[in-house]
Amino acid sequence: MGRRLRVVLACVVTLLLAGCGTTPSAGGSADKSLILATTTSTQDSGLLDELLPVFTRDSGWQVKTVAVGSGQAIEMGRRGEADVLLVHSPAAEEKFVAEGSAGPRRLVMHNDFVLLGPKADPAEIRGTGSTEAMKKIAAAEAVFVSRGDESGTHTKEQGLWSKAGATPGGSWYQSTGQGMGATLRVASEKAGYTLSDRATYLTQRDTLALEVLSEGDAGLLNVYHVIEITKKAGDRVRPDGGKAFADWVVAPPAQRLIGEFGRAKFGQPLFTPDAGADESKLGQ
């Protein structure tokens, strides 16, 4: 009996040593390691998988990506839990920058939002402008699936409702509280309408029973900025890391990668690189 106990104990100790011995090598890059808080759309579309390995190779910085809604990403920046943000919620970003704990905020890229819905299109929004489309969906009380997570997409959707003078609510308005990929799936299964960034939609189009019904007007522009976080947000912020990433992502090599991303697979780029452009002229 004692022998077996010893064997079990030996196993336990070996496992512990194995666990402890290898942990520092995987987590011990604290030297040059930064936290990037970004939106689910950059991760779900696969853009980050393309960009980050190149950034790490070029700069030596390890990136820890936290892909959440833009609202949560900005909150992480506010608390100093991230070093740099890549987000698409301009109104909330401007408010955050005005608070003073953020460093420079620079334009990175844009794509656009699209209003999606089932082929049958019960609210008859096909080909209408975004404001008109939202009015019709509300009037028809057709199923609309919302992110409901204070993300950039959710904020945009709320802006569209208020521009249309409609107050969504009731059983036809459904809130998932999840990322873009999951929300697209719910909308597809429920044959509902939803608002999505074009990149995430294109990468998942084959698995969805949703079509683009309204697109192309200026109200649907989706603009991404990179925001550096400073020590004012927290003592442990790494402004050098944040600056390294922000400088890299607006420089020509990264901008070229962004412009090429998706072209081979979808026949069109998913994002338009915009570094240094005049934001007020986007989409014209």
Partner: protein, 233 residues
Amino acid sequence: MDVLFDGLVDAIGLLLSGDRDTWSIIALTLRVSLTATAIAILIGLPLGALVALARFPGRRIVLAAANTGMGMPPVVVGLFVTVLLWRSGPLGGLGLLYTPTAMIIAQSAIATPVVVALVAAALQQVDPDFRVQMRALGATPVRAFAALLGEARLPLLAGAMAAFGAVVSEVGAAQMVGGNLAGQTRVLTTAAVLATSQGQFSLSIAFGLILLLIAFGVNLSLTLVQQRRTVPR
């Protein structure tokens, strides 16, 4: 239904082709979950034994707390550990958030109550006279305790399996404290969730099947140890 079949094909393909990303995800899953289970046993075995065998005030409260802890949602544990490990939190200086170590901490916290509760139950169902007899036969307390563990080895190993099952399958805490970083903290459960939200269903099913296979392998080994001497000779 095609997705399920494609998933099976993908799973076999990923395993046989020696896909490096997949194997590193598998290795990390095993490392984190087994280490967490081992830590839970190191803490939970003495604590469970104490609760089962000793008499002290508050003993039942500890036991009730452990029983409650068995059903504790991993997300809650994950949130708690995240707040502790935040840069602005009490342990922020360690820089552990989004590392495998953070995942091990969270999963140990999930597994420990399981071990405590099941160890206590396992030892309490051994006839109390057994210890008295061992002592009467001249066994030292340590020998008597070892014999007691041997006597209760079936439910004890069942407890270890339950603890491993709880951590290898959970996704909430692993996602929150690990961050699902590719090549660093991505385990099978978080990889499956990501693949789903990226619309890659067959890949997601493949990860799920690999997870099942691994859980089965670990439990098979433990079951073989557990059942070795139960067949009458």
